[in-house]
C-alpha cells in the first residue's frame, strides 16, 4: 500500500504544475530519508521536507476531496501546515443555536435560493461583475503594509487593470514562489519537529487503542493490524533521530496538511483517522468491493450521537457543529446551499474567535478552520465547490498582513467571506441566468434533471419574461429531488412534464434543449454532477439535443477525472432498498443480512465532455474545452478578490 502511494505523491505536483512555475527548490532538502516520503504535493513542490509516514496516517481523516491538496500554485502550503497546539478549546460562547442563521439559507427543501424571491428581485438592468469587483477593492486594500504582501498586492493591482495579461501572471507566480520559499525554511523545520512528536504520540496511542478494538475495525485483517504498531515505532524513531529536538507536548490536534485525497482502502490510515474522529462511524457491513477506496460507513447512527454531544464543550464551534449536523441529516443539500451554509458558519466562528496568547492569528485560525473542515468532512465529504471556498478562505487568512490587529483581521476575513458568497455564488447565478435566458426561445421544450438552483432560476426567469416553453423534469431514485423542483415550478405556473430517468429516451424525442446543473466542472471538461446527469446528457447527445450545463465558475476545479469510480461519494445504501411511497417494494428489507448482496448509492457521476454542448458560467458561455482556461484565470484571480 505504501509503495503504491509514494510514487503518486511525487508525481502529482509534477503533473499539475504545467504553467509558469519556478522549478522547485530542492537544494535544501537533505538526503532523502529512505522510509519517509512526501505526501503533500504542495509541500513537495515548495518545501523539501520529507514527512515520515505516521503523520499521514494520523492526519488523514479529513482528506477526502481536499482541494488544497491539488493547489498548483502552492499558496496552501503556507496556510495548511498549521502548527498551533490545539490544547485549548475554542473559547466561543456555547450558544447552542446561533441566531444569526437566517432560516432562508437553510431551507428545508435543500435549496438555498428561495426561488421566488431571487427571481423577483432579479435586476432588470444588466449587472456588472467588474463594477462589483471594483467596489470590493478598498476592503482588500486594508491589507497593504507587510513586506511579503506588498509585491503580490502590486500584482493584484496590475491584474485588476489588465485581467488575463500573461506577463502579470508570470511575475505574480514568481513572486509567490519566492515568498513561499522564504517562509518555508523555518516552517519546514517546525513541521518536521511536529512530525516527530506526532509519531511518538501515535505510537503510544496505537498500543492502547489496539487493545480496545473498536467495533469498526472488524474488517481489518489481523495481520495488518499487528503490523501497524511496529511500523509506527520505526517511523517515530526515524523521525526523532532526524530532528532530535523536542517541543512542549501538544494535546490532540485536529488539523491537516494538504495531501492527496484519503484512500479508504489504506487500512492503517483509516484506523488512525478513525481514532481522531469526532463523529463515531462504523463501517458498513456489506461494502462494495469496487469502492473500497471511498468511505462506506453505516448511516443513521451518527446523528443521534452527535446531537447528544451538542451541548458538550467541544473543539468545534457550535455554528459549524450545527451545519455539520444539517449535512449529516441531509437538511442542507445542493452545492450552493452547502457552500453558503459552511461559509456562514465559518464567518460566525471567525467572529467569535479569540487569538490565544502566544499564538498568531494566521496559524491558529488556520488550524481551527482545518479542524472544522475535518469535522464537516466526517459529517459528509466536501463537495468540490466547498473545497474551493475553503481554499479561498485559507489563502485569505494566510495573506493577512501581520500589522493588522486581531479585530481588523477578523473584520477583513468576514467581509471576504461575505464577498465570496455574494460575488461568486449569488451574483454568478444571476449572470448565468442572464446568459442562459438568451438560449430559450418560444416553443422550446426544456429538459432538466434533478434539482439545480441555477436551472431553476433560469426557468423561472424565462417564465417571468413571458417566454412560452414547456419543462420536462426528469427525476431519479433515490433522492427524487426533481419532485421538489417540480413542485416549485408548477406553483409558479410553468407547464411541466414529470418522468423518471429510465424514460428519458422516450421523452427526449420532443425535447429541444437540456439544461443541467453541475456540482463541479473539471479541467478536462468533465462535468461532475449528481448521479444520472451523465445518462441524461448521453441520451440527449444520442438524440442530437443540445446539452447546456449551468455551473458557477467557483465550482470549477483543475482536477481531471474520466470515470465516476475513482472519486465519488457514497450515500446511504439503505435508501436504495426502500422506495418512497411504495410500500409494496420491500424485497430488500433485510439486505444487510444477506452476505452476497451489496447496495450502492452513488452520489455523483462524471459526464464526458463530448456530451456537453456548452457550459454556461459567470464568465460567459464556453465550450467544455475552455474550462481549463477559466480554471487558470479564475484560480489566479480568486486568491485576491
Amino acid at each position: 500500500m505504501e509503495a503504491r502511494r509514494a510514487p503518486r505523491a511525487v508525481i502529482d505536483p509534477k503533473v499539475r504544475r504545467v504553467g509558469f512555475f519556478a522549478p522547485p527548490d530542492r537544494s535544501r532538502s537533505g538526503p532523502p530519508d529512505p522510509i519517509s516520503f512526501d505526501i503533500s504535493p504542495t509541500a513537495n513542490s515548495l518545501s523539501p521536507v520529507m514527512i515520515p509516514p505516521p503523520r499521514h496516517s494520523s492526519e488523514s481523516l479529513s482528506l477526502h476531496a481536499r482541494p488544497a491538496a491539488t493547489s498548483p500554485s502552492g499558496e496552501e502550503s503556507v496556510t495548511a501546515g498549521s502548527y498551533s497546539s490545539s490544547s485549548e478549546f475554542f473559547p466561543a460562547p456555547m450558544s447552542p443555536a446561533p441566531s444569526s442563521y437566517s432560516s432562508r439559507t437553510i431551507a428545508d427543501d435543500g435549496d438555498f435560493f428561495d426561488s421566488g424571491k431571487v427571481a423577483s428581485s432579479f435586476p432588470r438592468g444588466g449587472f456588472d461583475l467588474t463594477a462589483m469587483k471594483a467596489s470590493s477593492v478598498p476592503a482588500s486594500e486594508l491589507t497593504t503594509g507587510a513586506v511579503v504582501n506588498a509585491d503580490s498586492l502590486a500584482i493584484r493591482e496590475r491584474e485588476k487593470a489588465d485581467k488575463g495579461g500573461g506577463s502579470a501572471v508570470e511575475v505574480k507566480d514568481q513572486a509567490l514562489n519566492a515568498k513561499q520559499k522564504k517562509e518555508k525554511t523555518t516552517k519546514a523545520e517546525r513541521r518536521a519537529l511536529q512530525e516527530a512528536q506526532r509519531a511518538a504520540k501515535a505510537a503510544a496511542k496505537a498500543e492502547g487503542n489496539k487493545a480496545s478494538g473498536t467495533l469498526a475495525s472488524v474488517n481489518v485483517k489481523p495481520a495488518r493490524a499487528a503490523k501497524l504498531p511496529q511500523k509506527v515505532d520505526n517511523a517515530s524513531v526515524a523521525a526523532s533521530e532526524k530532528k532530535g529536538g523536542d517541543r512542549p507536548q501538544e494535546k490532540d490536534r485536529k488539523k491537516d496538511v494538504p495531501q492527496p485525497r484519503m484512500q479508504y482502502d489504506d487500512k492503517s490510515r483509516v484506523d488512525k483517522a478513525k481514532r481522531r474522529a469526532v463523529v463515531k462511524q462504523t463501517e458498513a457491513k456489506n461494502r462494495v468491493e469496487l469502492f473500497r477506496h471511498l468511505p462506506q460507513y453505516e448511516h443513521g447512527s451518527q446523528l443521534p450521537d452527535l446531537e447528544a454531544k451538542f451541548f458538550q464543550l467541544g473543539p468545534v464551534h457550535p455554528a459549524v457543529y450545527k451545519v455539520g449536523l444539517q449535512y449529516l441529516s441531509g437538511d442542507i443539500s445542493g452545492g450552493n446551499a452547502r457552500c453558503i451554509a459552511m461559509l456562514q458558519a465559518f464567518q460566525e466562528a471567525i467572529k467569535d474567535y479569540r487569538v490565544p496568547t502566544e499564538k498568531t492569528l494566521v496559524r491558529d485560525l488556520t488550524a481551527k478552520l482545518s479542524s472544522y473542515v475535518s469535522f464537516l468532512i466526517e459529517c459528509r465529504p466536501l463537495s468540490i465547490s466547498m473545497g474551493n471556498a475553503i481554499r479561498f478562505l485559507k489563502s485569505r487568512i494566510a495573506k493577512l498582513p501581520l500589522t493588522l490587529s486581531e479585530s481588523e483581521s477578523k473584520t477583513s476575513l468576514q467581509s471576504d467571506v461575505e464577498r465570496f458568497i455574494n460575488e461568486k455564488i449569488i451574483l454568478a447565478n444571476k449572470v448565468i441566468v442572464k446568459h442562459a435566458i438568451t438560449k430559450i426561445r418560444d416553443g422550446d421544450v426544456l429538459l432538466t434533471y434533478g434539482s439545480s438552483s441555477a436551472v431553476e432560476m433560469i426557468l423561472l426567469h424565462a417564465h417571468e419574461l413571458g417566454k412560452q416553453f414547456r419543462v420536462v423534469v426528469v427525476d431519479s431514485r433515490p433522492r427524487l429531488r426533481g419532485k421538489l423542483l417540480l413542485r416549485r415550478l408548477v406553483e409558479k405556473g410553468l407547464r411541466c412534464t414529470y418522468t423518471h430517468i429510465n424514460a428519458v429516451s422516450y421523452i427526449m424525442n420532443e425535447v429541444t434543449r437540456v439544461f443541467l446543473g453541475a456540482s463541479s466542472v473539471l479541467s478536462n471538461g468533465t462535468v461532475y454532477s449528481g448521479v444520472g446527469t451523465a445518462c441524461v446528457a448521453m441520451v440527449a447527445h444520442a438524440f442530437r439535443v443540445p446539452v447546456l450545463v449551468c455551473c458557477e465558475a467557483y465550482k470549477f476545479h483543475e482536477r481531471v477525472q474520466h470515470d465516476s469510480i475513482c472519486s465519488n461519494e457514497l450515500g446511504n445504501p439503505d435508501i436504495i432498498s426502500t422506495v418512497q411511497s411504495r410500500e409494496d417494494v420491500n424485497h430488500l428489507e433485510a439486505w444487510a443480512n444477506t452476505e452476497n448482496l451489496q447496495l450502492l448509492n452513488l452520489i455523483y457521476d462524471a459526464t464526458p465532455s463530448d456530451y456537453v454542448s456548452m457550459i454556461i458560467t459567470d464568465y460567459g458561455m464556453v465550450p467544455p474545452t475552455s474550462v481549463p482556461v477559466i480554471v487558470r484565470e479564475y484560480s489566479r484571480e480568486h486568491v485576491w478578490i
Binding site: 415550478l489 423518471h500 430517468i501 444520472g532 465516476s564 424485497h587 450502492l600
Partner: protein
C-alpha cells in the same frame, strides 16, 4: 362452441386488464387457448385446414386487439397458423408422395387416380418446393401470382380448398382427423418449447460468461436469472450489478434471488448505470419482444443502458425465447408499441392535487410513465435465443423459420378462405 368463446372472452379480459404479466405467461396461455380452439373446432370434411385457419385467425384477431402491445400474442397466433399450414402441407405432400409412388409402381389403380385430377407430378414438385422455399415478402403477393399462373399449388388457405376437398373424397375424413391431431401435437410441442426455453438459453451461459466477469442487468427477467444461475452452477464466479429498474423495481427481487444463489450482487440505482458501465464486461438483459429488424422492445430504461454500453464498447446481450421474435418491422416503436402506465408509480395520488386546480390556471403537470423502450439493432451486440446466438441482422431470417409470410398481416386479410 360457447365454452371456447367463453375462454376467449376471459382471456381477452385478462389481456385488457393487463393482468397477464410477462411475455412467457402470455405466450403460453395464448397457445393453450388456441389449442382448445383447435380441438373444439368442428372440422368439416371439406377444406379443414381453411376452417382451422379461419377459426384461429378469428380468435387471434380478438386477442391481439385486446393488447396490441403484447406482441407475444400475435407471435403465438402466427406460430399456430404456421403450424397448421405446415402440417397440412406435410400431409398433402405425404399423400402426393404416396400417390406418386403408387402411380409410378402400379398403374391399375385408376379410380384413385381419377380422384386427383388437379394433382399432377408438377403439383407435387411445387408443393415440395414450397416447403423448402423460405417464406419471404414475395409470398405476400403469391396469391395473385398463383392465380395468374393458374398453377394449382396450395399456396394459401383459399387455394387449399379444392385440394382438401379432393383429398377428403378419397380418405373420407381420416386425414382430417389426422390433421387436427397433428396440429394439436405440434401446438403442444410449442407450449413445451415456451415453458422450457429458459433451460435452452441457460445452457449456453458458460459459453458467454468467463471467470470474474462483471455483468450488469436492469430490472428482472426470468431468462436472465436462469442464465446467470446456470453459469453459477457451472462453478463460474462472477459479480452482477443489478439496476433496480424503476418504476417497477423488479431489480430488487432479482438481486435478492441472485444473492441467495451465492452470486456477488450489487444493487445500483438506474441513474448510476452510466457511472458503473465502465467497469462492466457485459450487459445481459431480457427483452419484451424482438422485432424483425433486430431491434428490441425492452423494459423501460434499456435504451439508456444500451447507449452507455455502446459508448464503452461493452457487449449488450439480449436473451430472448423464440416466442418473443416478432415478424413485424417496427415503425416509431417508441410511441406506437409502447404503453403508458399509471402515474401513481411515480407520484403519489394527490401529491400535487393542491396545485392542480384548473380554476386558478396555474401550471399544468403531465406525468409520463412509459413501459417500454426501443433499442435499435445497432446497439445490440448479440441475441441469445433457444436456438443459439444470433446477430441482430440475422433476426429477419430466423423469423422466417417460425412464421408464414401469409400470416404477417393479421387484420388486412380477413378470412378469405371461403
Amino acid at each position: 362452441m360457447p365454452d371456447v368463446q367463453g375462454l376467449v372472452n376471459e382471456f381477452v379480459n385478462l389481456l385488457k386488464k393487463r393482468e397477464i404479466e410477462g411475455s412467457q405467461a402470455t405466450a403460453k396461455q395464448t397457445a393453450e387457448l388456441l389449442r382448445s380452439v383447435i380441438s373444439h373446432q368442428r372440422v368439416p370434411h371439406a377444406n379443414q385446414a381453411t376452417a382451422l385457419i379461419n377459426a384461429v385467425r378469428a380468435v387471434g384477431e380478438q386477442i391481439i386487439d385486446a393488447n396490441p402491445i403484447e406482441l407475444a400474442v400475435g407471435n403465438i397466433v402466427r406460430r399456430v397458423l404456421y403450424i397448421i399450414r405446415e402440417e397440412h402441407l406435410s400431409l398433402v405432400t405425404d399423400a402426393m408422395a404416396g400417390y406418386g409412388m403408387s402411380a409410378a409402381s402400379d398403374e391399375e389403380d385408376d379410380v384413385e387416380r381419377d380422384d386427383y385430377p388437379a394433382l399432377s407430378a408438377a403439383a407435387v414438385a411445387a408443393a415440395a418446393r414450397r416447403t423448402l422455399r423460405p417464406p419471404s415478402l414475395h409470398t405476400l403477393l403469391e396469391d395473385v401470382t398463383d392465380s395468374a399462373a393458374l398453377t394449382p399449388i396450395p399456396s394459401s388457405a383459399g387455394d387449399s380448398e379444392g385440394k382438401s376437398r379432393s383429398v377428403e373424397k378419397g380418405e373420407k375424413g381420416t386425414r382430417g382427423r389426422k390433421l387436427k391431431h397433428d396440429v394439436i401435437e405440434a401446438v403442444n410441442e410449442l407450449i413445451q418449447d415456451i415453458t422450457s426455453f429458459h433451460e435452452q438459453i441457460a445452457e449456453q451461459a458458460v459459453e458467454h460468461i468467463h471467470q470474474n466477469e462483471v455483468i450488469l442487468t436492469l430490472g428482472s427477467s426470468k431468462t436472465v436469472f436462469e442464465f446467470l444461475c446456470a453459469a453459477k452452477e457451472k462453478k463460474r464466479s462472477f459479480r452482477v450489478f443489478v439496476a433496480e429498474g424503476a418504476p417497477r423495481y423488479q431489480g430488487h427481487i432479482l438481486a435478492k434471488e441472485l444473492a441467495a444463489r451465492g452470486l456477488q450482487t450489487t444493487v445500483i440505482a438506474d441513474s448510476a448505470t452510466f457511472a458503473m458501465i465502465s467497469r462492466v464486461n457485459m450487459v445481459i438483459v431480457g427483452a419484451h419482444a424482438v422485432m424483425a429488424n433486430g431491434g428490441v422492445i425492452a423494459p423501460i430504461g434499456l435504451h439508456m443502458v444500451a447507449l452507455a454500453a455502446h459508448r464503452h464498447a461493452v457487449p449488450f446481450v439480449v436473451l430472448a425465447g423464440s416466442h418473443k421474435l416478432c415478424p413485424l418491422y417496427p415503425h416509431n416503436p417508441q410511441v406506437l408499441l409502447n404503453e403508458l402506465r399509471s402515474p401513481s408509480e411515480l407520484l403519489d395520488f394527490g401529491e400535487f392535487s393542491d396545485l392542480m386546480d384548473s380554476a386558478t390556471g396555474v401550471g399544468s403537470l403531465h406525468v409520463v410513465n412509459p413501459a417500454f423502450d426501443y433499442v435499435p439493432p445497432n446497439l445490440v451486440s448479440l441475441f441469445i435465443t433457444d436456438t443459439g446466438g444470433h446477430n441482430p441482422s440475422y433476426m429477419y431470417r430466423l423469423i422466417a423459420d417460425y412464421y408464414s409470410a401469409d400470416d404477417l398481416v393479421m387484420k388486412q386479410k380477413p378470412t378469405t378462405g371461403n
